[in-house]
Amino acid sequence: MTRSGMIPAIEIKSVQKNFGSVSIIRDLNLSVAKGERHAIIGPNGAGKSTTFNLISGHIKPSSGEIRLNGDVISGLRPFEINRRGLSRSFQVTNVFAHMTVWENVRCAVLWATGHRYAFWKNVDNLPVVKQRTAEILDDIHLTHRRDVPAGLLTYAEQRELEIGVTIAGGASVVLLDEPTAGMSHAETERAVSLIRRLTENRTLVIVEHDMSVVFGIADRISVLVYGQIIASGTPEEIRGNRQVKEAYLGEEAR
């Protein structure tokens, strides 16, 4: 971080991932600059979620290298990668169902505020934690639901909580996996403005099917087909790319 802004936030170099003899990610190369909002699009089964799982350490690449802010992170465990400033959300809501909304967000704040495995501090008497948790709840508009167990929230609320838990630790790089999947039109609009606001001054990588969301948020777009990036560029470049139209957008427009 100290050297220069030239080092990309995320750099993926010739990464492959095989499950048995099946090659899901064939030769992945991707570079996301700091502060960029980068969308990854592609047809179902192209390997978008697998790409997220590789970056976040959920699965390890069969070969190749992934760097976060210049440091190699491929092969590290998810919590080690998270501690270096990368956070991710999940396509299927993945929060702490029996804990309240407040506790969900607070848990996500604890490590980043340095409290770690502390068993000698009263968790209710940590002013910084309390303040940050309240701020996040305010940001995701769930303050009025703070004492409700997460499992009892509506679907849209759970998706908002998912985003809240993801950004609560203050990660500089945020991966969002289909944050608006299953949402109504109005809910999607709300979520988009939420994402835009919450990821200011951060690097964002987003996987999304809804093209209005993609073109509304992204500075750059990469198109993933059969485990390879076939095109990468600004929204205009991607719209005009013939190869992309054939492989992906064409199918949708048909």
Binding site: S56, G57, R77, P78, F79, N82, R83, S87, R88, F90, N94, V95, F96, A97, H98, M99, T100, W102, E103, R106, C107, A108, L110, W111, A112, H115, R116, Y117, A118, F119, W120, K121, N122, V123, D124, L126, R146, D147, V148, P149, G151, L152, V165, T166, A168, G169
Partner: protein, 434 residues
């Protein structure tokens, strides 16, 4: 009855208004522990209270694993037993070398015993949760229990190792020769341990334990290693189990292989589950109920384990939140002021349900005594009414109670469920239930 997973945990945010009430509960508990032996002063009740205190510490330590961290252990008695053995050895050493260590500190030695074993074995055990953890805990439990019979110098074989608690240095003239003094020692440690274990749930680690229980995968993506969290929880649980073992060693003045065995591990699981694992105070209720049943049922009937099993199955099937869960599901109704609409249906249901229960008890006892070869006597005393197990009228009465009780009880239960739904709906409308 409607499910009650909606009840917010009592350990959630303590509103500033509830803080005074919160401290009041602990003070009342402490006062009750002090006053109890003054009201029930017979030797039998003092022994019962002492055993209940030990069981409370043990069950709470178990719930650090099961309720708080989501680890189902089948071998929790290992830490309890090893704590007990270390306590006995330390007591004997103190007595023979005249160390200046008074008896009230001995439970710490027990805790260290439990903690030490947890530190050594825990890292491997807590690598995974779920079935893997459960199976390893079962294996370790059997391993240690059988080793205890082989390593005679440490565990004393079948006979165990005895000690004399009065041989330790006395403080303030307390010799701990009487059960009353031992009771106060146990009550003191029960209180301290309960406060410490409750405080643990209110720390960052305690909260993350809950997160690991709910979703270990996601915990990894908020910076935590679930393995470390489980290991730490296992250590704390082992420490307090050891404290309980140390208290037991002081109470019985002996430690033997029964401390470590599967029966003991099963009992603590029973206590925690019957009391309710999702509330901090659940295992306390469970420990009281299970210890009480264990002490009194054995006097009343030879097939007491059968009743244990029936109660356990009943809780698992109809009230998975345990006694604490049943109590806490009424909290939103009390707040919304709709509890009154449910009570009448409870009263109506009480009579046929009691008849059904008596019928079941009569059937079990009749069969048990009829088939028993040991000649426990054929007269069953049920609520003061004598029944003869060999008389056909007894069999008939049992059948009438079971069948009639069940048919009527079922109707009354349906009314309870309907009253409950109405009360819950109106509580929900007023915002007291999510």
């Amino acid at each position: 009855m409607s499910e009650a997973p909606t009840a917010p945990r009592p350990a959630a945010q303590t509103p500033s208004g509830g803080r005074a009430g919160f401290y009041a509960i602990w003070l009342i508990a402490a006062a009750a522990l002090i006053v109890l032996p003054l009201i029930f002063s017979s030797g039998g009740s003092l022994t019962s209270f002492s055993l209940i205190g030990i069981a409370i510490v043990f069950a709470l330590s178990y719930n650090i694993l099961l309720g708080q961290t989501g680890l189902l252990s089948f071998g929790h008695a290992v830490q309890y037993g090893l704590g007990g053995f270390l306590a006995v050895h330390v007591m004997n050493a103190v007595a023979s070398y005249n160390w200046p260590l008074p008896l009230p500190l001995i439970p710490l030695a027990g805790g260290i015993g439990g903690l030490a074993f947890a530190i050594v074995i825990g890292w491997v055990m807590t690598k995974r949760a779920g079935t893997v953890f459960a199976m390893i805990s079962l294996g370790i439990g059997e391993l240690v229990a059988s080793s205890s019979l082989i390593l005679r110098s440490v565990f004393g074989g079948e006979a165990g190792i005895t000690t004399d608690r009065t041989a330790l240095p006395h403080v303030f003239g307390w010799t701990f020769g009487s059960q009353l003094q031992v009771y106060y020692l146990i009550a003191f440690w029960t209180m301290i341990s309960a406060i410490a274990m409750y405080a643990l749930t209110r720390t960052p680690l305690g909260r993350i334990c809950n997160a690991v229980r709910d979703n270990p995968e996601r915990v990894e993506f908020i910076g935590y290693d679930p393995h470390v969290v489980r290991y730490l929880a296992y250590g704390f649980s082992g420490f307090f189990a050891g404290v309980a073992g140390g208290l037991a060693a002081i109470n019985f003045e002996i430690a033997n292989s029964a401390y470590l065995g599967a029966t003991q591990s099963g009992l603590v699981l029973f206590a925690a589950f019957i009391g309710g694992t999702s509330h901090f105070f659940g295992p306390i209720l469970g420990a009281i109920v299970v210890t009480y049943l264990q002490l009194d049922l054995t006097d009343l009937t030879t097939v007491w384990q059968l009743y244990f099993g029936i109660i356990f199955i009943g809780i698992v099937m109809f009230a998975p939140g345990g006694i604490a869960g049943l109590l806490m599901m009424h909290r939103p109704l009390i707040r919304a002021g709709t509890l009154g609409t449910v009570i009448p249906s409870y009263l109506v249901a009480a009579l046929p349900t009691l008849a059904l229960a008596l019928g079941v008890i009569l059937s079990i006892e009749t069969v048990a005594r009829y088939t028993s070869s040991e000649g426990d006597g054929n007269v069953i005393n049920l609520l003061g009414v004598p029944f003869n197990a060999t008389a056909p009228t007894t069999w008939l009465a049992a059948a009438v109670l079971v069948i009639g009780g069940f048919l009527i009880a079922r109707l009354s239960w349906r009314r309870v469920a309907e009253a409950w739904d109405r009360a819950a709906t109106s509580a929900r409308d007023r915002g007291y239930l999510a």
